[in-house]
Amino acid sequence: MTGPRWLAPLAVLGGLLVLLPLVGLASRVPWEDFWSLVASDASLTALGLSLRTAAVATALVVALGVPLGFALHRLRGPVRGLVRAVVLAPLVLPPVVGGLALLYAFGRRGLLGEQLGGAIAFSTVAVVIAQTFVAMPFMVVSVESALDARSGRHEAMAATLGASRTRTLLAVTLPALGPALATGAVLAFARALGEFGATLTFAGSLAGVTRTAPLEIYLARETDPAAAAALSLVLVAVAIAVVALAYRPLRGSR
C-alpha cells in the first residue's frame, strides 16, 4: 500500500525523533575507552545482575503468564474485559506507581509484610518481582490473542485420538503457540532488562544486590558521564537485537 506523498516528511520527522537521540548518545561515548568503561567493576556487576534477574523474571513470566493467558482466553462476557484491563495495567502504569504498589504488598509494612518478615523488599528477589510485574502483560496478551486465533479443531482431534488435556497442551497447543511464546518472552526479557522505576522504588539501589544496569547508568550520569553513555549503548544494542528477534517469527507465520 502506498500512502499520499505528504506522509513522507512526517515519516522522516518521526524517524529523526528516534534516531537523533541514539546518535547523540553515540557521540558522547569515548570510543577509545569503550571497553574499559564497559568492563569496569561497577558496570560489569550491574550488567551481570541485570542479565541474571531479567532471565529469572522471563522464566517466571513464561511460567505464570502463559496460564494467565489461558485463563483470560477461557473467560467470557464483560468480566473478560475487566480482568484483562487489570492484568494488563502494569503495561501502562507509571513504573514508580507499580513499585509503590509492590512495596505496599510485599514490603515490610505491606499486606504480606508480616508473613514475609520484610525479607523481600530491597533484595535481589524484589528486583525479579518488579521485573516480572511489569513484563508479564506482554506474555499474557501474546498468548491470549494467539489462543483466540485458534479454532480448537486440533485439540478436539487430539482428544478423539485418546490424548489427555496435559498431553494435548504440551504436544499440540504449546508448539502451535511457539511464535507467540517467543515474541512474548523476548519482549518480556527486554522490558525486564530496562526496568527502572519500579525497581528503584521497591528494591532500591544497592550495589551488587539491586543496582541493575539502568540504575547504574542513572547514578553514573553525574559522576562519570562517559561510563553512563557506554553502558547505555550496550543496552541500546541489546534492545535493538531483541526487537529484531521478536518481530521476525510473527511476520513469517501470518
Binding site: T160, L161, G162
Partner: protein, 352 residues
Amino acid sequence: MSGLDARVAIASRGVDVRLGVATGRTLVLLGPNGSGKSTLLEGIAGILPGAVGEVRLDGAALGEARTRGVGLLSQDDALFPTMSVLGNVAFGPRARGAARLEADAVARRWLDRVGLAGLEDRRPGALSGGQARRVAIARALAADPRVLLLDEPFAGLDVPAASGVRALVAELLRERTAIIATHEVLDAYAFADDVAVMDAGRVVEHGTASEVLSRPRTPFAARMAARVLLTGEMRGGTLALGGGIRLPVTGGPGAGEVAAVAVRPAQVVVGGAADPRLTWVDDAVVTVEPRGDELRVTGRVAAADVDVSRAGELVVGGPVRFGLPHGLDAYPLTAPEPRAPGDGNPDETPAS
C-alpha cells in the same frame, strides 16, 4: 445391542438425532450440505460443546472424548501442523501409553498400509490433498478406534486422488464399525450396509442399504438416493397415481393399500411416440438442470434424464410428458413409525 447407539441433540444447531450401527457394519449417513451430518459425527465423537444425549457402545455409556475409542476423520483433515507425518500418526498410540519406538513402529505400519511409506518426515503443509487425507486416515486408525467416523472422506480431492482414497477406504472398512457422512449417493452404493438419510438436523429414514436406496419412503430420501418417489393406491397389479393414471407394477401390497415405486430418472422418457411399454403422465417442468451430457428435467410428479440436445423443448413452467416404464418394484408405504423422541419426522402422506 452390540454396536453403537447414539442420541445427540444440540439445540443451537437444530440437530436432534438417534442413530445406531451394529458391530462390523458400515452406515452411510446421506444428506445435503448443512443437514447436520458433521455436527452429529462430532457429537458421537464427544467433541461437540453444548451437546446433550448419550452415546453407548456395546451397551456401555461412553464418557469424555479421549476415552471413547471413537475415531473421527474430519473433512479438514486437521493434521497437527507442528508435527511430522510420522508424529501425527504416532500421536494416537503415544497418547494411549505406547513407548516412542513402539508408537513409531505402529505409525510406520499404518503409513505403509495407506501407501505413504517414505513420507514419514514430511510436514503436513508439504502434502497434496490426497496424501493429507491418507495421513488423516492412518492417524485415525493407528489410535485403534472401536468405531470410525468419516466426515465427507472424499470431498475436496481431485478425481484421481478421490478414487484412490475410495479404494483405500473400501479396503480398510471391511469388518469395521463405521459411519460415513456424505452427500454422494455413490458412496452409499459403494460402502453401505445400512443407510440413514438426514434432513435439517433429523434422521428421516434409516434401514439397510437396499431398503433405503431402492425402497425409499419419503420424497427427500428418494431424492438423496437419486430416485423419484411415486406414491398411490394398489389396484390389481397397477399403481393408481391419481388423475386416472394407472401404472402397471410388479409386487406390491393388496388392492386398496398405499404403495410406492422409486424410479430412476434415467428410466423415464420425455415426450416421444406412443409406446405400449410406457405410461404417460402430463406434468409441468419445475427445474431443468445440466448433468454432464444430460439434462435432468424435474416436474411436480416425476423426473427424467434427457439428452442435452432437447434443451429447447423444455421450458420451466411449460408442459412435459413423462413416460414411466412398466414393471417397477412396488412396495407398501405405511406411515413411518417414529424412531425416537425428538425424531420429528413429518409423516409423509401419500400423494392422491
